[in-house]
Amino acid sequence: MPKDAWGSRLGLILAMAGNAVGLGNFLRFPVQAVQNGGGAFLIPYLICFLLMGIPLLLIEWSSGRFGGKFNNHSTPYIMDGMGKAKIWKYIGVFGIFTNVAVVAYYTYIESWSLVYVLHAVIGTFEGMSQSAVADFFTAYVDVWSTSTGIPFEAVFFYILVLALNIIILSKGLGGIEKVAKIGMPLLILFGIILAVRGLTLGESGKSELFPEANAWDGLNFLWTPQFDSLSNPKVWLAAAGQIFFTLSVGMGTIQCYAAYIKANEDIALNAVSAGFLNEFVEVVLGSSIVIPIAAGYLGLDWVLTNAGFGMAFQTMPFLFQQWGEIAAAFAGVFWFGLLFFAGITSSLAMGTPWMGFMKDEFGWGKTKGAWSFGALALIMGLPTVLLYQYGVFDEYDYWAGTVSLVVFALLESVLFSWVFGINKGWNEINEGSDLKIPQVYKFIIKYVTPLLLLVVFLGALITPYQNEWSENISNVMNGGNWVLDNSSLVKNIFNYGLNEELQKAENEIQRQFIERKIFYINMSRILLIGLFGFISFLVYLSHNKRIKEGKVNYE
């Protein structure tokens, strides 16, 4: 059977950019900028892109192509080929585990986007108040209610979107490339249309209820630099975190896609191009839609109080209604269509490491690989759909979609520079290159990137109370204690925040709800550990199989 391969270079770059572009480009980035010094946030953000983003892209692209030379298309054996210790293939399990766990809830968001496209077209939000639009979302994620007449519609649309992903995945790289070639240009087109509206809205959206509303206020706040924020470690950590999550590094998907690149083909220019395309969508389009449009109709104060993930589904449909019936329908299709394409191009990427692993190690074809991935995603995903209100969705996102990525990226950067060796690594990056990467990057990749990742990891591990780094550091300097925030990894493990909520519960119903929440959160952690154990077991089996077949190492 011929090896799967990319049809064109542009297709590969669009697929890679599609993998990186996600909901965070449109929602997380502007919110982070607003909360961390406005225009000044862009300075640490762009510095982190150069010192951590680009190096990690180069590491992952070159590691992937290196693995592909030995017919390894997923991180367990790509990493095994780069370091002699047995542990690396088990560390590589992160590169499959993360994808299965993340796709489980990510496809749920995709299904929301698809359903909201439908509702935008049929005019469901017409005449609804802002709170009615927000309540519509709350009702939708309650699996017992229905907005379309289809029973269990949240589950139905979730399975439908998952099935769509499986069907495309079963076509192999060709299917993924086709979706990227259609989805990415449409996403950019929709984004440009909405961004033009956001940049030209001005004061035209003010109303009796919000007489101070002005889109310029949103843009002013987003772009006016507050240079004093540059000395705040919190701002730098936020910038590093944003760069990290926006590029989809630390997941194992980039390595998998790159493993299908031919040995003599460029990776340096491809990696930088895909990285900048993601930055274009984030910095240019992402900053010009949600914040100015929301400030244009609801005012800056409202934005500063409510800016967050929920705006996408709970606020934007209401704002679009202010443009009139027809324009609202188009805007809804553009916005939710854009989110859908951003989602599906990422979730398709998440399927490939599992499929690549099962094909390499157990000879599973595309169809078997795709459907088994879908089955795993469904088993992992149903709890996030059925128990959404108990925080299972957020728990997956925290452990699989946040912590695992940082841990894996830190370890892979150590492997690349210090175990595989920076000289060999540098040669891999430059082999067949169409772009001369400045020599200084050799130093950055070896020292700066792992150090930055370590700082990001420590930042999550011991997040200080209320994320006030400066205050806590000076407190420790003066002999005081480091006070941890409930959002820190250390306190998160022991559910400090929830236990505090439990103690403050005002009645029996509230108390029972929080108790149930703690139970389901602990169960979801067991499920995640189980998934990691299951994939590790498969790696163990495949290792034994390789020993029997006499192909343990490449040397």
Partner: protein, 33 residues
């Protein structure tokens, strides 16, 4: 918009857009191996 915000917006978005277009142009015009 105030002047400094406008300058930040134009410089940042202009730089990112120009870099994106430059690299994509290079990709499309690189010789096939």
């Amino acid at each position: 918009m105030n002047s400094i915000a406008l300058v930040m917006l134009l410089v940042t978005q202009g730089t990112v857009t120009a870099a994106t277009l430059y690299f994509l142009y290079k990709v499309l015009n690189s010789s096939k191996k």
